[in-house]
């Protein structure tokens, strides 16, 4: 067991209990924070876009070409990732992410 810290679009930080094997998008959605995840985690919509805290970036598997293609459809920062492509493992205990703004 462990946790992730998620800062919502209003700037409020939430500490969520994480479950091994769940995607970070699923953890965020399951706790009821506003993350769309339209395609259900298929890496096809980029509506689960998050910014990952700098010191955590290097601990994640790098983005696949497929994920990069989807990141092309949002306004990114160098620390942009799709949270459906981050599988939570105990090594990610304490992972810090911020929900990216949406267009509307």
């Amino acid at each position: 067991m462990g946790v992730i810290h998620v800062t919502d679009r209003a700037g409020q930080r939430h500490t969520l209990e994480a479950i091994e094997g769940w995607r970070v998008m699923e953890i965020i959605r399951d706790w009821g924070l506003p993350i769309e995840g339209l395609c259900g985690g298929a890496c096809e919509c980029a509506t689960c876009h998050v910014f990952v805290a700098e010191d955590w970036l290097g601990k994640l598997y790098p983005a696949t070409e497929e994920e990069e293609d989807q990141l092309d459809t949002v306004v990114t920062k160098p620390n942009s990732r799709l949270s459906c492509q981050i599988l939570w493992t105990p090594e990610l205990d304490g992972l810090e992410v911020t929900l990216a703004p949406t267009g509307d």
């Binding site: 298929a42 919509c45 092309d72 459809t73 949002v74 990114t76 990216a100 267009g103």
Partner: protein, 347 residues
């Protein structure tokens, strides 16, 4: 002048669930028209993941999104439904009574009007719309200087055009608008493009010849006054910023889904979903049904197979509205000659 179409049922959304509803209604002799905002049928299956394998469709160990849509189209072919693609339902108005519902449905693009006895909303996550980048004040330029689609190329003649994105739309319009624009700039977040390779090559040749500019980065702010754009502030990955002069900006960031006008039709909504009962999948308005990902009820699972089931049950109630005098006989396609005749397979 608007045409006016009379039919039994209008189905809003031509995704897998809307398509299968045609089958279940067809077996009960109910005619339908389908309306979808996309230029093609299949909804998310065709738009978001046509090549992705799906493993939980009963009877298909594996089928791709497009494969499922193609099979559904073949399955409903005997019922000859009419499709109205590239159209969005703008208004839905009740003109009947709870006992004998009647509706007037209007679409936006061509302004088609339908009069029907039932409406089935199978709109999934809502209607597909261009993704709008989160840039401050972008709304104040929309329609004057910021466009999410090109309707008339001539609008851009002699203009300083900024195109943003790295997919097919961005690259196609880059190549097509470059000859008529005063100066064309393409902006993308990285030096890799997922568009068709030959279009990317054309773009690179134009850049090499000095006939257009390619910038890497993101738009961080817009400059201008009174809805007229003058420039875009571009931020690179290293944090440095510079301004690109432009009269128009065309962001091509793909599609997303928005609930859209459905919210204004007098239906109860719960977190952008439409609550229904689990016997008929009818909404709070008699004669309006909601099936598939757009509905909610205790225990709801957003699975394609749930949507198929919901369509079958909704069709039973629709039959009572369309044929109030007829008794509905429950039959199987394996044994009923009358159903087999409808399917065009009777011996």
């Amino acid at each position: 002048m608007t045409d006016h179409i009379e039919t039994d049922v209008v189905i809003i959304g031509a995704g897998p669930v809307g398509l299968f509803a045609v089958f279940e209604l067809g077996l009960l002799d109910i005619k339908c028209h389908l309306i979808d905002i996309l230029p093609k049928v299949g909804g998310q299956c065709a738009e978001l993941y046509p090549e992705k394998p799906i493993y939980d469709i009963p009877g298909f160990p594996m089928v791709t999104g497009q494969g499922l849509v193609d099979n559904l189209m073949a399955q409903i072919e005997p019922f000859n439904p009419t499709f109205h693609l590239n159209e969005m339902v703008e208004s839905l108005e009740s003109i009947g009574t709870p006992e004998a519902p009647l509706f007037r449905v209007k679409t936006s693009e061509n302004g088609t009007t339908f009069v029907c006895k039932s409406v089935i909303i199978a709109a999934g996550g809502g209607s597909f719309q261009p993704k709008k980048p989160p840039i401050d004040n972008i709304e104040s330029y929309e329609g004057t200087s910021v466009f999410y689609a090109v309707r008339k190329m001539e609008m851009f003649r002699g203009k300083k055009v900024l195109i943003v994105g790295g997919g097919d739309s961005a690259l196609d319009w880059t190549v097509n608008l470059q000859p008529i624009a005063k100066r064309l700039t393409l902006l993308h977040r990285r030096d890799a493009f997922r568009a068709a390779p030959h279009t990317v090559e054309k773009m690179r040749a134009l850049v090499a010849a000095g006939d257009m500019d390619l910038h890497l980065g993101q738009v961080s702010a817009l400059k201008g006054e009174n809805h007229v754009l003058e420039g875009a502030v571009i931020r690179k990955d290293d944090g440095s910023e510079h301004v690109v002069d432009c009269d128009v900006m065309l962001p091509f960031f793909g599609l997303t889904m928005k609930l859209g006008p459905i919210a204004e039709w007098g239906l109860n909504l719960h977190e952008n979903l439409i609550p229904v009962d689990t016997e008929k999948f009818e909404t709070n308005v008699p004669g309006i049904f909601a099936i598939g990902d757009i509905n909610t009820y205790p225990g709801k699972l957003k699975l394609i197979l749930s949507g198929f089931h919901e369509g079958a049950l909704a069709a039973q109630k629709v039959h009572r509205y369309v044929y109030p005098e007829k008794k509905l006989l429950f039959q199987y396609t394996t044994s009923s000659t009358s159903l087999q005749k409808k399917l065009g397979v009777a011996a």
